[in-house]
Amino acid sequence: MTAKSLELLQQRFGAELVEVDDYLGDASVTVRKSAVHEVLAFCKDEPTLRCDLLLDIAGVDHPEREERFEVVYLLRSLQTGTRLRLKTTVADGDAVSTVSDLWRSANWAEREVYDLYGVRFEGHPDPRRILCHHEFEGHALRKDYPIGKGQMCYVPEALLTDQQVEGSHALDVESRSGQLQNVDGEIASDLLAINLGPSHPAMHGALRVEALLDGETIVDARSEIGYLHRCFEKEAEDHTWQQIIPYTDRLNYVSALTNNVAYVHAVEKMLQLEVPERARVIRVIVSEMGRIMDHLVCVGTNLVDIGALTNFWYFFNAREYMYEVVERLCGERLTTSYTRIGGLYRDLYEGFESDLRFALTKVAEGVKDVTGLVQRNRIFMDRAIGVGAMSAEDAIDWGWTGPCLRSTGVDYDVRKAFPYLGYETYDFDIPVGENGDCYDRILCRIEEIHQSMRIIDQALKRLPDGPIQSPDRRVALPPKDEVYNSIEGMMNHFKLVFEGIQVPAGEAYGFIEGANGELGFYIVSDGSGNPYRMKVRPPCFPIFSSFTELVKGQMVADAIATLGGLNIIAGELDR
């Protein structure tokens, strides 16, 4: 597939292509800046490529080069299975033409590149910063931006346009930096501008949506993210490969285990490292545990948003049993840091299987209780069916993945489409919805809990004995015997401890099916002990970018129900 698509591109755009590469099986093409839009449009429309999903856009900074920035487009086709990485280079101050007219998911992705690197996108409809504050000076991910340099920014950003605000009557004069003080006297319309968040009970985490309401109907809305931005990607460039693992816990803190697996999966891809079978099976178990816990949280809180409080406890009680297992396994509940490059932090403890099976029966009970309470409940159906509905085409256009995409009827799941960790050998189904509304999303997630339990059951049955850590000396510490008695062992130990794992220079995109969609790590290594560039592709970033479009014309209550169902985790959204 890879070779064929590269060939096709070469035939079509021979002169425009600077470099073609398929290192580690990732088809990668570098094109001239002027041809970016044309090539991407071709990739999208060409029947044999059909890259309908723009996963993410990443920037890379090489200050020593003349055209210092690389802009990397990660493409995926759900129909042909094509995986393509398209790159272009751009000098400081230059602009790349936007592709937000091809994929709506490009809108926020390009804003992020602009925010963190200062690369402008020509023709972008909304060229603002996204993760950093609008008063922030400089671009945080440039190599010449000092890692410790903080900036104090105070004035909140006005999201709605002045015109919209003029026409409405806002109460919170303070939060609009004095813009509204001239709004008195004549009243132009009956619209009301209102701030949902950043501290609002329904904004899980800290998100801000400013909505323009006509009565209770949302006429227009703008969202603002970045309240939890801590520049994980910059931190990653300053740490050794192993040291990054604890940071991945804090991306999606609801399913930290899955994040751990995703990160080491990507790094091991770069190292071309095989992990022992036992570790692979355990990774399957823990990532499915993460998925279950994530779905429990998402569905539980979503039901709270609709007013069904009790379900929250039924799910959280079940999750508590899961957390007990997690705590015994990793020593921590939330910040698990369970995986290591090449294996795991430690083996399963004695009695893990019976503990986990017990916890899973509790989960099954909770799921049964909740389904009984809501699935055929008239009020719940009225509140959820048709609310926040998204069509399959739109969902793909927005870059949705995971349960949210599957609820629209697309059966795309990385575990089936691009199996990893031996998922192809497990027997499980991919639940899909029909309407892509709040109801389908909840039911999809609930069914995925069942499927994950099936996978865990099979994994527990086949769990082989053996080591949990790869013996590969590039990543594993040598046995003590060698360290004490041989110079090679001693040096090996010293290098690993002081310099960390050396990942060969190159780049790769490793991805797995996270609880909320495709969770990918695009990694560039220069062969030193630290990553040169680490780009996370969080599933909820493109999903949340569509939120304001999704809720226009809906009522406030629907917007809140929709938001809960999308499962936006601020930790991975803002990184």
Binding site: T310, N377, I379, A557
Partner: protein, 349 residues
């Protein structure tokens, strides 16, 4: 009140007092009793709510204060609320912000006067008792509006608007639902309505098919009237933060809280006297030796329990669905019910 006056006039220390002083004292006593009853009752309901919620959600609820299952939790909360700082939002409408909790609580409190706890155990046996009870709930609406407007907060205002629209809408099916019973008994006096259900269980109005429909409409509408799930739209914590009482703290908040639970009891008590046989147990022989107020209160508490039970079971409606249910389902239904009952009555005689 008359009973108090009589009691006082017989007491030794009150001999020789002016009649006006005597009746004034009686008024104070009666008012104080009801106020105390309302406050203690509401506290009890708050504790019940928390315990019931706990059991429904497979947790414990309050367990420590008062040693036995946290019985004194509400008192501890009350003390806490008393000691809390009284916060005024910037630019709040001082006057409205202050009177809102009073209006809400007064509205709830006034209704207690007409509740017939027993044949001789009623604050004031008004002939328009039912009508009066509905009238006092208007004050609650005004309180909600005052709170929403006075708080100078958009979420509060939205809560107030929802609350006002909801309560004035649901007053209509609420009133229409009880009319067949009023027609049948020929009185608006709650005591008389209860009296009409003397005898065996099946003489309760609940077991008449027409009145049963009324009862169901009444019960659901009363949930909306007191802003309980699935109709808790004025305070929907996930949407409106906390609705009209978002900005309230301390005792002002406590007044809203007490008012809400007192109102729950009032609507339940009205349902009991109109539909569920008032203070009668349903077995004539038992009626003789069971104290009437006990039966009445137990039945009302049961209905309060039903409200709590529903709250922790159901999701909430959206604001347009709420209005739909009222105007397109309940009002036509209750009108049809009323019409059919009138038809039957005029044909049967």
């Amino acid at each position: 009140m008359e009973a108090f006056q009589q009691m006082l006039s017989q007491a030794g220390w009150a001999q020789g007092m002016q009649p006006w002083a005597l009746s004034g004292l009686a008024m104070l006593f009666a008012g104080g009793t009801i106020l105390g009853g309302v406050a203690v009752g509401a506290m009890f309901f708050i504790w019940t709510e928390r315990k019931v919620a706990g059991y429904i959600q497979s947790r414990y609820g309050p367990m420590y204060v008062g040693h036995f299952h946290g019985v004194l939790q509400s008192i501890a909360d009350g003390v806490k609320l008393l000691l809390k700082e009284d916060i005024w939002p910037t630019d709040a409408d001082k006057f409205l912000f202050r009177i809102a909790p009073l209006l809400v609580f007064t509205g709830a409190f006034l209704s207690f006067v007409v509740l017939p706890f027993g044949p001789d155990f009623v604050g004031a046996s008004l002939d328009i008792g039912l009508f009066y009870a509905f009238a006092t709930s208007s004050l609650v609406v005004m309180g909600v509006i005052a709170a929403g407007w006075g708080s100078n907060n958009k979420w509060s205002l939205y809560g107030a608007m929802r609350g006002a629209a909801q309560v004035i809408s649901y007053e209509i099916p609420l009133g229409l639902a009880v009319l067949p019973v009023v027609m049948s008994v020929g009185s608006l006096n709650l005591g008389t309505l209860a009296e009409a259900q003397r005898g065996w269980l099946w003489s309760w109005h609940l077991f008449n098919p027409i009145f049963f429909v009324s009862f169901v409409i009444y019960l659901i509408s009363s949930l909306a009237e007191v802003n309980r799930v699935p109709f808790d739209l004025p305070e929907t914590e996930s949407e409106l933060v906390s609705g009209y009482h978002t900005e309230y703290t301390g005792m002002k908040f406590a007044f809203f809280f007490l008012g809400e639970y007192a109102d729950m009891f009032v609507v339940s008590a009205i349902a009991v006297s109109v539909f569920l046989g008032g203070w009668y147990t349903g077995i004539p022989a038992v009626d003789a030796f069971v104290p009437a107020p006990l039966v009445f209160i137990l039945k009302s508490v049961f209905l309060v329990f039903v409200q709590i039970w529903l709250r922790w079971t159901l999701p909430r409606l959206r604001v347009d669905q709420l209005m739909y249910v009222c105007w397109k389902v309940f009002i036509p239904l209750s009108l049809a019910n009323l019409f059919i009952y009138g038809l039957i009555r005029s044909m049967v005689g």
